[in-house]
């Protein structure tokens, strides 16, 4: 049996995973949408070896001196539109599972900003540079609404009565401010070796709220009884430091290889957890209000990249990265994952490139469900779902002046997976709150057919999400 404290921590972990990031399903650390350098973003975020982008120093600190520039400055904005459709299994009259029908569809938009600057000095073939960047690492903005309705009046083309409103709202982000140091050893005109270190400070304030609120219709339908609203909030801060080591080796005029290593980072998560369900019938208010402090783990990441510049009538750069993330450090039930990034840049006409890219990143998310074991005892079943996010990207640039460029990167990704119902149906069982033998006919149409119970993994939601993102940045470098 788990201790109360660990149970609470686990619960918090689950709540956090359910609420984090712009996608409400996103696991421990949400989706990573790749590089903040808009040029690299359009190339499938394959930017471990990046000798052009100022914001590339946040992907690999060794990119700073790889660029062989003296100064650089970049500002970047990022906007993402997430569409989240959740569907329940759908049966035909022979009770045959045929498909899933969408019961809630939410669109949310969030934006982020990032910036970077550096100075570097070259001593002959060698170089030394220092830079700074600021970017959001994880965004916790989320917005999800779900109506609970009966099916009354639907024959008359009228909206059915709304019984309750479920919502999940999240705000906040984890911001990363990094200092980057890099040295370069020139080995030839087109051969040099770069080492970089990135020490960054991570800070963020997050507020998340999940609630079920009965509507006036439901409350007025059974005025003699109290229908309990539920609210669950988390208010916490994250803080800590992260280090990243990077190297980039320009082998010759055509090839470059690079690698980064980001060791496991432990952040401090400190905040309060509040839960309240109103009183009903002869049941008192259920509430919890605790402060907590716990570790929040960012797993070790190892990333290897290459860049190839062939001879091509459309001047071309091809980048490819492979990344290994030790998710097992976060939770032993997670598997370590391999992610792939690849992109190509063709100069269609001078200074007007077309970039295309592809990436396949896997996320995992963790859920816990009540179940009964073989002896009939209640147990908790843990489940880890792996979610593959394939993504296609495209991008271009506009050269404003010799050293000033506006880059645009566009991305489209989608994913389909199973997930547990975010709000179990048993909560709307008014029998619980009235003590009656059946559901109220004032709330439900034909209550004799209404069977409200939570769906577990035997009938999970099918979730279909897509993200359309635009990354735009301006950079100056000399």
């Amino acid at each position: 049996m788990l201790s109360n404290k660990s149970l609470l921590l686990l619960t918090l972990l689950i709540v956090a995973s359910a609420l984090s990031a712009w996608s409400i399903t996103d696991s421990y650390f949400g989706n990573r949408y790749g590089s903040y350098d808009a040029r690299i973003y359009g190339m499938g975020s394959a930017g471990t070896f990046n000798d052009k982008g100022v914001l590339g120093i946040s992907d690999n600190p060794a990119n700073l001196t790889l660029m062989k520039k003296k100064y650089g400055f970049a500002a970047n904005s990022y906007i993402n539109r997430n569409e989240d459709n959740r569907a329940t299994p759908f049966w035909n009259q022979f009770d045959y599972y045929i498909d899933d029908n969408v019961y809630s569809s939410n669109i949310s938009i969030h934006d982020d900003f990032a910036g970077s600057a550096f100075v570097a000095h070259r001593f002959g073939k060698d170089g030394l540079g220092i830079g700074i960047y600021h970017k959001p690492l994880i965004n916790f903005d989320a917005s999800y609404r779900e109506d609970v309705r009966n099916n009354r009046n639907t024959n008359d083309d009228v909206y059915a009565n709304q019984i309750a409103l479920n919502s999940i709202e999240g705000t906040g982000s984890l911001q990363q401010t990094g200092l980057v140091y890099s040295v370069s050893y020139g080995l030839g005109e087109y051969t040099d070796l770069n080492f970089g270190v990135d020490v960054s400070f991570l800070n963020g304030d997050v507020k998340q709220e999940k609630s079920i609120r009965w509507t006036d219709f439901a409350i007025n339908a059974i005025p003699a009884f109290n229908l309990p609203n539920m609210i669950e909030t988390q208010d916490y801060s994250l803080s800590g430091t992260q280090m990243k080591l990077g190297t980039a080796l320009q082998l010759n005029t055509r090839f470059g290889i690079a690698a980064t290593y980001t060791p496991k980072t432990i952040l401090t998560q400190e905040g309060t957890y509040y839960y309240k369900r109103d009183a009903y019938r002869n049941t008192a208010v259920d509430s919890t209000n605790v402060s907590y402090k716990q570790n929040y783990i960012l797993p070790t990441q190892m990333r290897f990249g290459m860049s190839y510049t062939p001879r091509n009538v459309l001047r071309t750069v091809f980048n490819m990265d492979v990344e290994y993330v030790l998710w097992s450090e976060v939770n032993e039930r997670y598997d370590d994952m391999l992610n792939i990034y690849a992109g190509v840049e063709h100069a269609i006409v001078n200074r007007m490139p077309l970039r295309i890219g592809f990436q396949a990143v896997s996320n995992q998310f963790f859920t816990m469900e009540d179940a009964i074991d073989l002896n009939g005892d209640p147990i908790q079943v843990y489940n880890v779902n792996k979610i593959v996010n394939p993504m296609i990207t495209a991008g271009s640039s506009i050269g404003l002046a010799k050293n000033v460029t506006v880059d645009l990167g566009f991305g489209y990704t989608w994913r389909e997976y199973n997930a547990l119902d975010l709000f179990g149906d048993a909560y709307y069982n008014d029998k619980t709150y009235t003590g009656a033998g059946s559901n109220s006919a004032n709330i439900w149409t034909n209550p004799q057919y209404v069977v409200l119970k939570d769906r577990g993994w035997e009938n999970p939601d099918k979730v279909r999400e897509n993200n359309i993102s635009l990354n735009a940045g301006i950079s100056f470098s000399w």
Binding site: N92, D95, P310, T316, D335, L354, V388, W414, E458
Partner: protein, 926 residues
């Protein structure tokens, strides 16, 4: 004196030249010596390095930082030396690049052949030394073409070049234009050297409609029991969470030295299968395909003889594919002519063929007058097995008894094996020896849609069994899953040989045989009658095959199912399968005649013809300069169950059986894989005519055919006709009109009726400059069909005899296809299609796959092909298909025996589907 002056002049010129900077060879440091800025020098250097070699000094103006003034300033100081590509492989690749790119798009049955063709494109064969069968393996080259060339070379004539080849008597235009890319004449374009190519691909595909239905079929109780749990996890779909995006991943690498030494490795994991991420070294090797081979086209000893020897995975094809053509992929109407080719003999195999892959060793020795080859293979195959309730395989003894192990701990015979007679358990045979069995009872080979891990599958079956047991056991003959797919469960040892004599040019006679031995398995298919019959085994409930009640599932009675091949039945008791066949070909004038006869040894003699199930195919192909005509006759017995046969047929095996349309009636829905992924031709006989005729440069009748088919399992007869007329008033514009008519007559107890399909397609194509291409297409389609109850039934139950007549389904679509080449390095292709109505089908222009569509919807795709460098290609394709589908599957609507359904309403629900597919591939060729 004159000579001296000339020499002086030359020396002065050389001196001047020597002082100049050669833009194509200068180092960056040398370029910096020019009176230009360091940035400009770097720009020049990078232009040469990253864009192109300078062809003239004026190319400098393409560099943004070099203006006219700078050009004029440095013009006297620089020269541009002539650059010529000297790498023969690079030169060759440029010649054949379009063909190579087209080859790369081949999938399915063509995929393995494309590798071979790619090799021959890159390192062609010496035309003057090629054998008849070598020509027959090349796309669009016929026997008549081959004879035209071979007659010349046999007379000692040496074909010197392409023009010389063109003048060969009998060689057709099509044959010539295709052949010329695969051959050389005197000097090979690429010297023997090390070459390698590698490919990775990532594809998030969706299942096809039948596969969806199969995987979603639930293992719930019968309706008669009342309660239905409505649990998604009682189907494979829900249990294995198949909603998730899960890519197919493939990696392939081939290395070869010229055409002599070749090795290759391929690993592929499909959607829903554990892939590379969870593979250890052992499982990676086990799941990968590989080969190593040696080929020599100039063997010492007999003149012009050749040797091929392969270990690992190889592919074997002979004759018309009746005895042996090992592939997992069915291909309709595979004539062996045009692009529908077979590569005869032994070739390495890195295709996605997994079930009928051969793994072992193969050797082939050929001479213009004869050929001999032999092959052995041992591989574990996937199979549909008979299983006990705990998921373990049912054992079979040598006498044909099902053997079980006593697991009753209270029994004195606990742990012993027994078979049953009535209700009694027999523990020893008449001779006193204990009952013993070590072979598994196997139903069939299968190509699973998803190769689930066996342990995971057994867990799933246990979960489904637990649910089924909750019902009244008597509602099932077998209240548990009694048949299931198991991967690598069937150990097949196979050996085979082929002998061939070629007495005259263009004439050959071959003999092929193979024998497959099953070390650990007995194939058993129950008969039609008796207590344990095919229907008890396959069908879920008594009612499903209850003839007395006239249920529609009776159609299973006459299907091919009752004729499934068995190596151990009442009439045949051996644990091997042997097929023996003869093939032959001869060319008379401009006609090539070929055929193959094959017999499957059952209870006849191996050496006697006509006493066993057999198949034959004979065809005659006549070609004129602008006309080809093919007549083909074929017959495949119902009992001729040769999984390695992939000959010409109209349909694949089990088409129109309950594996096709009534998945819900099966004890295990995954048995439907026998049809859904079936490679084998259906037992049929038929007559097929095909022609092409080019009237002149403006009018062409494209591939047009007429096929009369009788499916022998149930005598369903079909006629299919298709013709295409192309009008090309200008080279750049083409108008195509295509008409297809198909009539199927069902001679079936349940569906005694006719379906008629008419399809009209009009396409306008424009071939723009720079190889750009635009096509607009419209198709109109009608299907006059038997009364599909799911369409004709009123939304109320009960008999509807009076109202259910024939059904006319009408559909049409409009489509646009476009290709734009930015340069030779970057190409974008796109397609859009919108359809409305039923029964419409579309052959995806780039996908090489056919798509049947209902209701309404649209699909679109865009593909970007980037040729990153001479060797490296990247392709990204995104496809979306959004459609509404009628989701209702009406099963027993008219069934008066289930009174609980009488008052049920039928709701024709519709659900919108949206499928996103992304395909990413990287190809490296060196």
């Amino acid at each position: 004196m004159k000579k001296f002056l000339l020499l002086l002049l030359a020396l002065v010129c050389m001196g001047l030249l020597a002082a100049k900077v050669d833009l194509n060879t200068a180092t960056l440091a040398e370029l910096r010596q020019l009176p230009i800025s360091a940035d400009q020098a770097k720009d020049i250097f990078e232009y040469r390095e990253y864009v192109k070699i300078f062809e003239s000094i004026f190319d400098l103006r393409e560099i943004p930082s070099i203006d006219q003034k700078t050009l004029l300033k440095i013009r006297p100081l620089v020269v541009v030396s002539l650059f010529q590509e000297t790498d023969d492989a690079a030169l060759r690749r440029e010649v054949i690049r379009d063909l190579l790119e087209r080859m790369d798009q081949n999938e399915g049955s063509m995929e393995g052949m494309a590798d071979v063709w790619e090799d021959y494109l890159m390192t062609p064969q010496n035309l003057n030394r090629m054998h008849f069968d070598d020509f027959m393996g090349i796309p669009n080259v016929s026997g008549v073409d081959a004879v035209g060339i071979l007659k010349r070379t046999a007379q000692g004539d040496t074909i010197a070049d392409t023009r010389d080849l063109r003048s060969s008597a009998g060689l057709s235009h099509y044959g010539y234009t295709n052949l010329r890319n695969y051959v050389y004449y005197t000097e090979p374009p690429v010297k023997n050297r090390l070459m390698w190519d590698a490919k990775i691909s990532y594809n998030t595909r969706y299942f096809e409609e039948g596969q969806y239905d199969m995987l979603r079929e639930d293992f719930t109780r019968d309706y008669t029991t009342g309660t239905v749990p409505q649990r998604k996890d009682l189907s494979y779909w829900g249990y294995f969470g198949l909603n998730e995006v899960d890519p197919d991943m493939m990696m392939k690498m081939r290395v070869r030295y010229g055409n002599n030494f070749k090795i290759g490795l391929m690993n592929s994991s499909g959607k829903g299968e554990s892939g590379l991420m969870s593979a250890n070294t052992e499982s990676f090797i086990k799941d990968s395909k590989w080969f190593a081979g040696y080929e020599n086209t100039d063997m010492p000893g007999l003149n012009n003889s050749r040797l091929k020897a392969y270990v690992g995975n190889y592919r074997v094809t002979y004759g018309e594919g009746l005895v042996m053509e090992n592939t997992d992929f069915y291909s309709a109407r595979k004539t062996g002519f045009g692009f529908s080719k077979r590569i005869l003999g032994i070739t390495p195999d890195l295709s996605k063929t997994q079930e009928f892959a051969l793994k072992g060793g193969a050797v082939e020795y050929t001479h213009p007058l004869f050929g001999v080859s032999a092959f052995v293979s041992q591989d574990d195959k996937d199979a549909i097995m008979y299983i006990n309730k705990d998921g373990s395989p049912v054992k079979r003894d040598e006498y044909g008894n099902d053997v079980f192990t006593d697991n009753d701990t209270t029994s004195p015979m606990y742990g012993h094996q027994y078979y049953t007679q009535g209700f009694s358990k027999i523990y020893s045979y008449a001779n006193g020896s204990p009952v013993s069995a070590d072979k598994n009872k196997v139903f069939s080979y299968v190509i699973p849609t998803i190769r689930f891990d066996n342990d995971e599958l057994m867990d799933a079956e246990a979960s489904f069994n637990a649910e089924m047991n909750a019902s009244t056991p008597t509602s099932y003959k077998n209240p548990y899953i009694n048949l299931a797919t198991r991967t690598d469960a069937l150990r097949e040892k196979l050996w085979g040989a082929h002998f061939q004599i070629n007495p005259m040019i263009g004439t050959k006679l071959g003999f092929t045989t193979y024998t497959a031995l099953y070390d650990n398995a007995h194939f058993v298919v129950p008969g039609y009658t008796g207590d344990v019959n095919i229907f008890n085994t396959l069908l879920r409930t008594y009612a499903d095959f209850d003839e007395a009640h006239g249920f529609k599932l009776r159609k299973a009675v006459n299907s091919e199912l009752s004729n499934l091949y068995s190596t151990q039945t009442d009439k045949y008791s051996r644990d091997y399968r042997r097929v023996i066949g003869f093939d032959g070909q001869t060319v008379i004038g401009n006609t090539s005649i070929q055929g193959e006869y094959a017999e499957l040894s059952v209870n006849g003699s191996d050496t006697k013809l006509g006493d066993d199930p057999m198949a034959y195919l004979a065809s005659a192909y006549t070609q004129y300069e602008n006309l080809t005509f093919l007549t083909l006759i074929r017959h495949t017995d119902v009992d001729f169950d040769n999984p390695y046969s992939n000959s010409f047929s109209e349909h694949e095996r089990f088409d129109g059986t309950m594996l096709d349309g009534n998945v819900y009636s099966l004890t295990n829905s995954s048995i439907a894989d026998l049809y859904l992924n079936g490679n084998q031709a259906q037992p049929e006989q038929g007559l097929y005519f095909e022609t092409r005729y080019k009237f002149n440069n403006y009018f062409t009748i494209g591939r047009s055919y007429l096929d009369f088919t009788e499916r022998l399992a149930d005598h369903r007869r079909s006629v299919r006709f298709q013709s295409e007329l192309e009008l090309r008033p200008l080279f750049q514009i083409s108008l195509r009109l295509r008409y297809k008519n198909q009539v199927n007559r069902f001679e079936d107890l349940a569906d005694r009726c006719i379906s008629k399909t008419n399809e009209y397609t009009l396409a306008a194509r424009t071939f723009l400059s720079n190889r750009d291409f635009l096509e607009l297409e419209y198709r109109y389609n009608t299907v006059y069909a038997p009364p599909y109850l799911s369409i004709t039934s009123l939304a109320q139950p009960g008999n509807n005899d009076g109202t259910a007549g024939q059904t006319l389904m009408v559909g049409d679509y409009i489509a646009a296809n476009y290709t734009h080449n930015f340069t030779s390095s970057l190409k974008i292709q796109g397609s859009f299609l919108y359809w409305f109505g039923h029964g419409i089908s579309h052959w995806d222009w780039e996908d090489m796959e056919i798509d049947f569509m209902g209701e309404k919807g649209s699909k679109a795709w865009v593909a970007i092909s980037s040729r990153i460098s001479q060797n490296l290609y990247m392709n990204i394709k995104f496809r979306n298909k959004t459609y509404q589908d009628k989701e209702m599957r009406i099963r027993r609507n008219n069934d008066p025996y289930y009174s609980s359904l009488i008052d049920d309403q039928i709701y024709l629900q519709r659900v919108e589907h949206s499928e996103n597919t992304i395909r990413f591939s990287l190809d490296y060729r060196f």
